[in-house]
């Protein structure tokens, strides 16, 4: 299964888990699976229209899905997905 890495600010919505196994053939499926496992994370990733929020950056390995095929980007076993949060502390 692909593994999704959860950044600290969102871990309170994944019961503290830093990594979540997600299933599906593409990013969209994987995120649907994530929000099924942890429903309270949904508003932090999707807007009311069900689209990925513009400040949410999701990378496969070291590539931004925006530079690939967006949420239609295919994924496979062993892929490492990383959610990158917008943080502002200094």
């Amino acid at each position: 299964m692909p593994v999704l890495r959860i950044p600290t600010p969102l871990r309170s919505y994944t019961s503290g888990q830093s990594e979540v196994n997600v299933s599906g053939g593409n990013i969209s499926d994987a995120l649907t699976d994530l929000t099924a496992q942890y429903p309270t994370i949904k508003p932090h990733i999707f807007n009311d229209g069900g689209e990925l929020r513009p400040f949410v950056n999701l990378f496969i390995g070291e590539n931004n899905i925006k530079d690939l095929q967006g949420v239609a980007t295919p994924i496979k076993d062993g892929d490492r997905l990383v959610l990158i949060p917008s943080i502002a502390g200094g």
Binding site: P9, S12, S18, E62, D67, I87, A88, G89, G90
Partner: protein, 383 residues
């Protein structure tokens, strides 16, 4: 023409002069260069100390705050003896003590759309060590408009990020984050906390990148973002590309001048969690104190459970803000209620949630339990 080094400077920088990548010419380049550091807090502390020690000829410091004892857990440029002093003055004194050969210019003012271009114009490089989204977008846009590298870093709890945003050669901050998160979604360090050593780790990386860019050596983090987690001790790198739709550095950019960044982000450009729910929705600690004696109402504490060990109000029900939406059934819309947190920010958002769920008799405790501790009960610690 690069400036010469004095005999004293040659001795001071001898460990640099021994590295072929720096050498005498590199050290003279550093002496000839200038760096503007936005914020003299957690990140700004190590950044300023190491850039001063490295012999950057002129360092600019922008901050308008005063040193508070709650800063000292991580802001190591300041000290117990400078609590209450202006941060830029406290920092300048430390830098001049560390390296009297450099020039330190201080700007005791908030970095705003009105003064930012004027302040930043005369510096070779900008280092973003601010603590809020509006100033981060402002710093990015200033760097793009002036064609300067923006050495970026940001921190939260155990997580750090660093990159060099240089629109001439790669993506800018807005290419990665076209829009800020909605207000309240991402907690600040004042709300969520930060491991004290984290800005040390990330700030020294920021200083390293600045030195590499100024010296023209190595591979700066242009087009790359470093993601650090202190708990897992992981360093991940991802590739960043220029966003063709970027509104400030893309080919069809429509933002050509500085904007109102507080409006753009929907939050104030500081990280002081002084929360207010707005007119008619707040209650002051004095009012609460008077009314507690006569009225019956429920107290709702929306802080995290571990914060209750620091301070608490008697008979308050605790539902952490993150769980409030899911636990509304534990509350009664008929009850009069006062909602509070540490300083009033989270509770203001909690109040918004309650009001939208049909609660009409809720007030937000302005300034939170810290205001209660300051103004009503000195036995309660402030944190």
């Amino acid at each position: 023409m690069l400036p010469e080094l004095s005999r004293e400077e040659i001795l001071r920088y001898s460990r640099h002069l021994l590295i072929p990548e720096v050498g005498l010419e590199g050290q003279r380049k550093l002496k000839n260069s200038s760096a503007l550091i936005i914020g003299t807090g957690g990140l700004g502390s190590p950044v300023a100390l190491y850039l001063a020690a490295a012999g950057i000829g002129r360092i600019g410091l922008v901050d308008y705050d005063v040193v508070d004892s709650s800063n000292l857990q991580r802001q190591v440029i300041h000290g117990t003896s400078t609590v209450g002093k202006l941060k830029v003055e406290s920092a300048r004194d430390k830098l001049i003590d560390l390296n009297p050969d450099i020039q330190v210019d201080v700007y005791n003012e908030p970095f705003t759309s009105e003064n930012a271009l004027r302040i930043a114009r005369d510096y070779d490089i900008i280092l973003d060590g601010t603590d809020n989204f509006p100033t981060r977008y402002l710093t990015n846009d200033v760097a793009v408009f002036l064609g300067k590298p923006n050495v970026y870093a940001s921190i939260y709890r155990f997580d750090g990020q660093a990159s060099v945003f240089y629109a001439k050669e790669g993506p800018c901050y807005r290419c990665l984050f076209p829009e800020p998160p909605p207000p309240g979604l991402v907690p600040s360090c004042a709300e969520g906390g930060v491991l004290g050593v984290l800005p040390g780790t990330i700030g020294t990386i920021q200083a390293t990148e600045a030195l590499k860019v100024l010296l023209g050596i190595g591979e700066p983090l242009i087009g790359k973002l470093l993601l650090y987690n202190a708990l897992d001790m992981t360093f991940d790198f991802v590739k960043l590309k220029k966003n063709p739709n970027c509104r400030v550095c893309g080919p069809n950019a429509d933002i050509k001048e500085l904007i109102d960044y507080e409006e753009f982000c929907g939050v104030p450009s500081h990280d002081h969690e002084e929360g207010s729910a707005g007119a008619g929705l707040d209650i002051t600690v004095q009012e609460l104190s008077e009314r507690l004696a006569t009225n019956h109402f429920k107290l709702l504490d929306v802080r995290e459970p571990h914060e209750l060990e620091i301070s608490a109000l008697p008979n308050a029900k605790n539902i952490p803000l993150g769980q409030l939406a899911a636990r509304l059934s534990e509350l009664d819309t008929a009850d009069e209620m006062v909602i509070f947190c540490k300083s009033g920010g989270r509770s203001a958002r909690g109040l918004e949630l309650l009001v939208s769920a049909g609660f009409k008799k809720v007030k937000n405790l302005k300034g939170g339990i810290n205001a209660w501790a300051r103004e009503v009960d000195p036995e309660v610690p402030i944190y």
